[in-house]
C-alpha cells in the first residue's frame, strides 16, 4: 500500500502527458501509434531501470552513456555488415556490459572511491579506449539481424517492446526478491545491513553489474533504432538519472520503487514527444526539459537528503 501511494505522482504526470499527446495526435491512441512510442522509449526505460538499482544502493552510474556508445561502435566494427558475426558479437556486447559494471562495482566498493568519480573515470576510459581502437570515428556497419532488435516487429509488437517487458519484469521480480530487500537495506544503512549478515559489497557490485547489463541491452536497441554514430550514447547517463529521480527515487539510496523509475523514463520520453508535437523542437526543447525537471522534482520534494554524515 505504502509503495503504491509513494508511486502516485509520477503516474499522474505520465497520464496527463499521454492524454495531451493523444489530444494532439489521435494516432497515438491506436495500438501501432502507442507501440511506436514505447519502442522509442524502450532504451531509456531499460537504462533507467538499471540506473535505479545503482541509485537505490546509494551510488551513481555516470558511465552508462559512454557504455552505450562503446556497444554500438564495437558492434559496427566487429560485425562490419557480416550477418554471421551477429550472434557472437551480441554475446560479446553483453559480456562487455557486465564486465564494465563489475569493474565499476569493484573499484567503488573495494577501493572506496565515490561512485561519482569511479564511473566518471570509467566514462573517460571507455570513450577514449573505443575511439583509440577505431581511430577516432565509428567504422563498419551493423547487420540486419542486429538491427532487428531495435527497429523490427515480431508480429504486431516491436522487438524492443518485448525486450523491455522482459527486462522490466525481471527488474520488478529482482526488487521483490531477497536480493532487492538486501539492496534497499544496504542503500538505507550500510552498517546495519553488513552487521545483519548482508554482503554489502557484493550486493552493490551486483547493482553495478545490472546497470552495465541494462546499458548493454539499451546499446543494442539504440544501435538498431538510431544507427551507428559517435554521439549515440551522449548524455544518456544524465537522462537516465533524471528519469529515476523524476520517478521519485531519492539520490542517496534506500527509497523509491523500480516501477516508478521506469515510469519516470516514460514520462521523460513522453515529454520529448509532446514538445515535438507542439512544435517546440530543436534547441528550445532542452530549455523546456530543464524547467520541467526542476519543477517536477521540486513539486515532489519531500526534502531529498543531501547527505547525512554519521556523527563520531
Amino acid at each position: 500500500m505504502r509503495a503504491l501511494r509513494s508511486m502516485g505522482p509520477i503516474f499522474l504526470v505520465l497520464a496527463v502527458l499521454l492524454v495531451l499527446i493523444a489530444a494532439a495526435n489521435p494516432f497515438f491512441l491506436e495500438p501501432a501509434g502507442f507501440l511506436a512510442f514505447v519502442k522509442r522509449a524502450a532504451p531509456l526505460v531499460i537504462l533507467a531501470a538499471g540506473q535505479y538499482f545503482v541509485i537505490v544502493s546509494g551510488e551513481f552510474d555516470l558511465s552508462v552513456g559512454s557504455l552505450v556508445t562503446v556497444q554500438v561502435v564495437v558492434a559496427a566494427r566487429l560485425i562490419d555488415g557480416e550477418e554471421s558475426a551477429t550472434w557472437w558479437v551480441l554475446a560479446l556486447l553483453i559480456v562487455i556490459g557486465l564486465l564494465v559494471g563489475l569493474v565499476n562495482g569493484v573499484i567503488t566498493t573495494g577501493l572506496r572511491v565515490p561512485s561519482f568519480i569511479t564511473t566518471l573515470g570509467m566514462m573517460l576510459v571507455l570513450s577514449g579506449a573505443v575511439f583509440l581502437w577505431t581511430g577516432g570515428a565509428p567504422r563498419g556497419a551493423l547487420s540486419e539481424t542486429f538491427r532487428m532488435f531495435g527497429r523490427k516487429d515480431l508480429g504486431a509488437v516491436p522487438w524492443s517492446v518485448l525486450i523491455l517487458l522482459v527486462m522490466g519484469g525481471a527488474a520488478i521480480m529482482l526488487m521483490r526478491s531477497d536480493f532487492g530487500k538486501r539492496l534497499m537495506a544496504t542503500g538505507d544503512n550500510e552498517r546495519a545491513a553488513g552487521l545483519s549478515g548482508v554482503r554489502v559489497n557484493r550486493t552493490r557490485i551486483l547493482a553495478f553489474v545490472i546497470s552495465g547489463l541494462a546499458a548493454a541491452v539499451a546499446g543494442i536497441l539504440l544501435g538498431g533504432f538510431a544507427g551507428v554514430s559517435a554521439q549515440v550514447g551522449q548524455g544518456l547517463e544524465f537522462q537516465a538519472i533524471t528519469a529515476v529521480v523524476l520517478g521519485g527515487v531519492a539520490l542517496g539510496g534506500g527509497r523509491g520503487s523500480v516501477v516508478a523509475a521506469m515510469a519516470g523514463a516514460l514520462t521523460l520520453e513522453a515529454l520529448f514527444t509532446l514538445l515535438n508535437l507542439y512544435g517546440i523542437s530543436g534547441a528550445l526543447e532542452y530549455a523546456v526539459q530543464g524547467v520541467i525537471i526542476i519543477a517536477a522534482v521540486a513539486a515532489g520534494a519531500v526534502r531529498l537528503p543531501f547527505k547525512r554524515v554519521a556523527r563520531a
Binding site: 500500500m1 505504502r2 531477497d178 530487500k181 538486501r182 534497499m184 537495506a185 538505507d188 544503512n189 552498517r191 546495519a192 545491513a193 553488513g194 552487521l195 545483519s196 549478515g197 548482508v198 554482503r199 534506500g254 527509497r255 554524515v309 554519521a310 556523527r311 563520531a312
Partner: protein, 477 residues
C-alpha cells in the same frame, strides 16, 4: 517555566508543567521515555514554542522563535548527539556561527586564546584548541559542547542524558565539570535515566509522567525507590525476571582469544545461561562482542563452534549480535518493520518462511504493524525489531550490547523478560551493560573486562562495589 502545555498533531505531550531552576543549582528532570522531558527542554531551548504557559529568565518573560534566540538569552542545550563538525578544530567548533571578526576578517588568534582560556578554567588538559574534533573521544567532545555553551555566556545549561555514552571513569570527570559549572553560578538542568546521578549531582529533582508534573522535591527528602515509584508506579523488586535454574551444554567457548585490542580471552556460555559482561568503557567489552561476532575478529586463540573471520561466518555458526547503537548499526530506518525483521534470514537464507505477525507477537511489538517504517517507532519497539531480526534465524548464542540504552522503563522490563525467555528456551546469552543494577539483576555469571582482558569472573548477584572494584582494577579476587 510556568503552565507549559504543548501538543503535536492533536496529541497532548505536555500540560500544565511548572519548572524552576536557580542560579548555581543542579536540577534533575526524570521520567520515562515519552514523559515529556525532551519536549519541555526543547521549548526552553527555542526548538519548539509552547501552546500555553510562559518562560521567564531572571523574571523577564521570553519567547524564542529559533534556537539561536535562546542561545543569545543564555540558554544552551547539549543533546545526546553532539552538534559538532568532526573535520573542524575545537576552536572553530566553539565559535561556530559566532566567529569573532576584526577588520572584517575572522580573528583566529582571539578564537584560539579564548578557547584555551576556557579549557584552562575547566581544568581540561587532554586536548588543545586546534585539535580536530574528529580526533577526540566522546567524553572530550562533550567537553567541547560545554566550552561552546560557556563561550556563549550561557546561564542555563540543559544536559540531555550526558552520561549515556560515557564510561564510568568519564562520568567522574563529568561530575567534576558539572560542579565547576555550579560554582560559576550556572543553572544546570540535568536529564537522566540514571537515578544514582540524580542523587549524586542534583539539589532538586522534578519527576514528569505522561506529560504532567508529578512532583518536584529536594533530593535529600526522597529515596530512590520513591523516585522510581513516582516515575513508573511500580516497585523496584519487579524489575528483573527470576533467574533460570538449569543450564545445559556449552554453546560457545573461547580459549586464548585475542586481537589488536583483546588478549587472553577465556570464556564459555551454556544454553539457558545469561553471561553478563561488565567493564568500563574502553575496557574491551564491545570489542569482545564484535570479536565473537566476527565484525572485528579474533586473530589468535580458538573458539568453538568456530572462530569466525566474518560476520557471515558467525551468523552461519549461530551467533547473533544486538548492537549497542540501534540507529547506526541495527536498523535500516526507512525500511518497514517487516523488511528489517526479515533482513538476517534473507541474507543467510535460513529459517524458511516466517509468519511476520507471529514473529512480532513473540517479541511483543505493540502495535504489531509490519508495514510501518521503523524510524517512526519508539526506542523500545525499535529494539524489539532488532531482536526479531535475530529470532528468525534461531541463533545458538545471542549477544546483547547495551540492550536497554535509550529505552523507557516499561519496555526495558519487557526486553529483560524476552531475554530470560530466550535463555529458558535454550539460547546462550551474553549481555553487556553499563548499568550495573541491570547487569547484576539479569546475569547468572558476570565476567569483568579490564584493558582488553578478563579481570575476573563473578557468580550471580555480586554487589555493585565488587564489580566496580574489579573493573577499575583496585582489587584482584
Amino acid at each position: 517555566m510556568r503552565g507549559i502545555a504543548k501538543s503535536f498533531l492533536g496529541v497532548r505531550v505536555l500540560s500544565g508543567v511548572n519548572l524552576e531552576v536557580a542560579a548555581g543549582e543542579v536540577h534533575a528532570v526524570v521520567g520515562e521515555n515519552g514523559a515529556g522531558k525532551s519536549t519541555l527542554m526543547k521549548i526552553l531551548a527555542g526548538v519548539h514554542s509552547p501552546d500555553e504557559g510562559s518562560v521567564e529568565i531572571d523574571g523577564v518573560s521570553v519567547s524564542f522563535a529559533h534556537p539561536v534566540e535562546a542561545q543569545r538569552a543564555g540558554v544552551a542545550i547539549i543533546y545526546q548527539e553532539f552538534n559538532l563538525l568532526p573535520e573542524r578544530s575545537v576552536a572553530e567548533n566553539v565559535f561556530l556561527g559566532r566567529e569573532p571578526v576584526r577588520r572584517g576578517l575572522v580573528d583566529r588568534t582571539a578564537m584560539e586564546t579564548d578557547t584555551t582560556r576556557l579549557l584552562k578554567e575547566l581544568g581540561e588538559t587532554s586536548f588543545v584548541s586546534h585539535d580536530l574534533v574528529r580526533h577526540l573521544s566522546i567524553a572530550q567532545q562533550q567537553v567541547v559542547e560545554i566550552l561552546k555553551a560557556l563561550s556563549q555566556d550561557a546561564r542555563i545549561i540543559v544536559m540531555d542524558e550526558p552520561t549515556a555514552a560515557l564510561a564510568e571513569h568519564e562520568v567522574e570527570l563529568l561530575y567534576r565539570l558539572v560542579a565547576r559549572l555550579r560554582e560559576r553560578g550556572i543553572a544546570v538542568l540535568y536529564i537522566s535515566h540514571r537515578l544514582r546521578e540524580v542523587f549524586d549531582l542534583a539539589e532538586r529533582v522534578t519527576v514528569l509522567k505522561d506529560g504532567a508534573l508529578v512532583r518536584t522535591a529536594d533530593t535529600a527528602d526522597i529515596t530512590s525507590d520513591e523516585l522510581v515509584r513516582l516515575m513508573v508506579g511500580r516497585d523496584l523488586g519487579t524489575y528483573f525476571p527470576p533467574r533460570g535454574t538449569e543450564t545445559g551444554e556449552v554453546r560457545l567457548s573461547v580459549r586464548g582469544g585475542g586481537n589488536a585490542v583483546l588478549d587472553g580471552i577465556d570464556l564459555q556460555v551454556s544454553e539457558g545461561e545469561i553471561l553478563g559482561v561488565a567493564g568500563l568503557q574502553g575496557s574491551g567489552r564491545t570489542e569482545l562482542a564484535k570479536a565473537i561476532f566476527g565484525a572485528e575478529p579474533f586473530t589468535r586463540g580458538t573458539m568453538s563452534p568456530l572462530r569466525p573471520r566474518s560476520v557471515r561466518q558467525a551468523v552461519a555458526a549461530g551467533i547473533g549480535l544486538v548492537n549497542e547503537d540501534r540507529k547506526a548499526e541495527g536498523l535500516a530506518l526507512r525500511q518497514s518493520v517487516r523488511d528489517n525483521a526479515l533482513l538476517v534470514s534473507r541474507s543467510v537464507r535460513r529459517g524458511g518462511r516466517t509468519d511476520i505477525r507471529e514473529l512480532l507477537e513473540s517479541v511483543r511489538l505493540q502495535p504489531p504493524r509490519p508495514e510501518q517504517e521503523v524510524r517512526y517507532l519508539s526506542g523500545g519497539n525499535q529494539q524489539k525489531v532488532v531482536l526479531a531480526k535475530w529470532i528468525t534465524v534461531a541463533p545458538k548464542v545471542l549477544i546483547f550490547d547495551e540492550p536497554t540504552r535509550g529505552v523507557d522503563v516499561g519496555a526495558k522490563a519487557a526486553i529483560h523478560d524476552l531475554m530470560r525467555g530466550l535463555a529458558k528456551d535454550g539460547m546462550a546469552i551474553m549481555m553487556i551493560s553499563s548499568e550495573l543494577p541491570e547487569l547484576i539483576g539479569m546475569s547468572d555469571r558476570i565476567i569483568v573486562m579490564r584493558d582488553g582482558r578478563i579481570a575476573g569472573v563473578l557468580p550471580a548477584g555480586p554487589s555493585e562495589e565488587t564489580v566496580m572494584h574489579l573493573a577499575a582494577g583496585e582489587v584482584t579476587p
